[in-house]
Symmetry: C3
Subunit: 350 residues, 3 copies
């Protein structure tokens, strides 16, 4: 969705809205955000990491956002904030407001007569809204989205094109779902019976809290019996798979390509790395960080960072080392034998 025309703001106006402290000319206006490196004079940039000091010195930005400790690192007009990156996010949101909804149901959309659509919601071209579904105030339902029977979408939520919501799922307010997201497909429930897999009907729902964002092509399966729950403020990147009956605690963030197996429970404020895996039926407490590519096979009861990734190296080195993995237990045993022998004096010859 395209951004509307950019309106310039003076630092004074920005401070009035967002707080912080101005050093230098408060009348300087900015209309765009940019990196220090690519900023033009009408831009405001941010500086939050000492590594970028050379870029700060060289920037052509009209103004900069920075932290208390860096207050004097530049002479440019600047806003000092305790959390410069968050402040920058707010300024960017001010300068780049999302395109407002275009209220109304597009002529090509197919809305079941029993559905309830808020008057100021936008239903895009070729979107399909099922029986008894409800679309809240100010929602944007993108082109080609499919909203299943009895599903509900809370106020201010945006679905980009080609999102699919299965029947009965409940999406909170101010949620953002990117293209290709599938919410509420059947979980992987099968029972082997006399040589054939029987399907176990998946009759739970997916409940998604307020202020959740879900990236492109991520899938969240409906519960088998009870519901799958994504609590408020959770941020899921692209191409993540969430199995049935998972519960993800509020404000947890998960990077792309991760997978969470059925019935796992993840706490609040966790940070889960890309392509990591969480096994089924385990519990992870609040404030746990999982590194990229790490498979978590057991419950984690203590906050902290956990890792289990293989370190890469030139292929020829890897070949030599990796093969030893298959003899590691034996190697440990050999060291143990050497230690025992060492502890006992060699038998002296009689």
């Amino acid at each position: 969705m395209t951004r509307s025309e950019r309106k310039p703001y003076s630092l004074r106006e920005i401070k009035e809205r967002l707080g912080g402290e101005i050093s230098g000319d408060p009348g300087v206006t900015v209309s765009r955000v940019a990196t220090l490196e690519s900023a033009a004079p009408e831009c405001i940039a941010f500086f939050a990491n000492e590594r970028y000091l050379p870029q700060l010195k060289a920037t052509r930005a009209g103004a900069v956002i920075l932290g208390e400790s860096a207050r004097d690192a530049t002479r440019l007009p600047r806003i000092v904030s305790a959390n410069p990156y968050a402040y920058f996010a707010r300024v960017s949101a001010l300068l780049n407001p999302p395109r407002p909804p275009r209220p109304g149901v597009h002529a090509s959309a197919v809305v079941d007569g029993s559905a309830t659509i808020a008057e100021d919601a936008e239903i895009g071209p070729c979107a399909v809204i099922g029986r008894d579904a409800r679309i809240g105030a100010g929602c944007v339902i993108g082109a080609g989205c499919s909203i299943g029977d009895t599903a509900e979408i809370g106020a201010g939520t945006r679905l980009y094109p080609n999102v699919t919501i299965y029947h009965g799922c409940l999406i909170g307010e101010r949620v953002i779902l990117h293209s290709g997201v599938v919410i509420g497909a059947d979980g992987f429930g099968i029972a082997m019976d006399e040589g054939r897999w029987l399907k176990v009907p998946q009759i739970g729902r997916v409940l998604i809290g307020n202020d959740v964002e879900i990236g492109a092509n991520t899938t969240v399966d409906r519960g088998a019996l009870d519901d799958t729950v994504i609590e408020e403020g959770v941020k899921l990147d692209n191409q993540i798979q969430i199995g049935h009956n998972v519960r993800i605690g509020a404000h947890t963030a998960i990077a792309a390509c991760a997978g969470v197996a059925g019935s796992a429970r993840i706490g609040r404020y966790c940070r889960i790395g890309g392509a990591s895996g969480i096994a089924g039926h385990i519990t992870i407490v609040d404030n746990v960080e999982i590194s990229t590519y790490t498979l978590v096979t057991k419950s984690i009861k203590k906050p902290g960072t956990y890792t289990g990734a293989y370190v890469f190296e030139p292929h020829s080195e890897w070949r030599k080392n990796a093969v030893q993995l298959r003899h590691l237990s034996e190697l440990a045993e050999r060291v143990h034998v050497l230690e025992k022998k060492r502890a006992q004096p060699k038998r002296s010859k009689p």
Copy 2:
């Protein structure tokens, strides 16, 4: 697709349809399935794992399905079955029948004049059916699905919204394809020629057998020359990638996020864990189990379970240990040297 109104069944009626043996009052009726924990009196639950004995003792369920050995673990009305989980799956299917097709082609669907659509099939809103495509009896083609030219969909098959079938692919009967599934996209066939990749046309098809279920956003590539084949009864979870010319044997189940590279052949009744990888051009025999996160780089000729995942640990521990991986070959050599020295007496001083 929403479930129809729930009709209650007595245990006697259930037994008449599904077999098993009743203990307690056969006239008790149930209308819903539930877990032991969340069951209400109108619910039937199942007990298949001793770990849940406390939940069995405390359940408010109206009836329970359990195995022979647990026959006396409760006084609730119960059905005894040799395979309680499979029995439960059948009861759930009885109580939660899939919504029946709504025969007819939606006015917004686009069906090529040369396509053949069974009279009782349902073609949803904005679905697109190509030239000479065939849709079998009782099929449900969800909103926004695209069925390519000459593709065929067998009787009783369901496509949830936004599934894409490329031209020429053949889908069996009673297949379920979840939203975002892509069947028959080009395989990754490229040939380097004078500094540029040439595309190798992918002219095979995808053949999907009867009773296959494929999860949301899973992709199955068409064959390069011959076909990609998914045999009957195979169950694929979400976000799986199946490369060109792969063959997956009947009744094999693959968990989410796995990838199978081109021309691999997987046997029947295999169970492949989530996020695992099967290398190209290898063969895996029947009844092999691959663990989660395991990369299989060589053919497997013997049934059994195979694993290759890194174990996770607190990050600081991992740092210390993982770095040693790069010296593992050297470490093994050092142990070997120690062993040799130990075997030879130290040179005595002259």
Copy 3:
């Protein structure tokens, strides 16, 4: 898209178009490509690997493409080429031309009045084209695709059904995007502020060069501030995730299920294996090969092959060995102690 009727070509006609050298009867005609194994007499096959010598001996193909060194390995009519696989790709493209566009906008497509559509472009059923978007000459936009406001699609580009392009993204010429691809969704930009994640607006674009092909359900995120760039000739397989502000150099090929984290820069002519991961903010030089399942956490400054995958083994063996990984640092230390003791003579009894 279905192939048009097959026209037979004589080897002489093929040579006139594609070069190479004929051995045997140049008047032999072929109308299909096939593997050596499944070829019928109207087929041309290729031989590029000595392993397939038995298949070459047994083939029923009418003609074969092979390398100089294999010139005399068969008596069949044959075309000798320095790069038989690339030659085969060209012959296959000749025999299997992609279905030509069917110019025109389908009646069910929704094209904004401000969009510019080339006269000979094909806009499929239920496709949606946004404000000020531009679709180039000879493009095919498949059913259900969504092209965002101000996006541009270069000449000769094909989008299979259900592709989504977000606003402002620029797609080059002769690009192929397979179903489920999402270009330009928001990158994963969030800032923690007082216990809640703030969204960092993602205002960059995605720029995709000429002759790029992107596989089914792959996602390429738009830049946070600057653009995400996929240079010309890049080939991406299915279900790959490309984070914001990544740059992928020309003619690099990436296999399925790989993930590239934000701001990573990958050089030209790299080959990245399936399910591998490239960490954010690192740089990989040209001509690097990354093995399947390898996580690259640091910049790579030298061409070569790099690997970091765990080797699989029977589960019981793995259990014994993998547990030792958690003691590897300790094991190395124990070996060190043994070496030191060995170096020092045992204290002799007084």
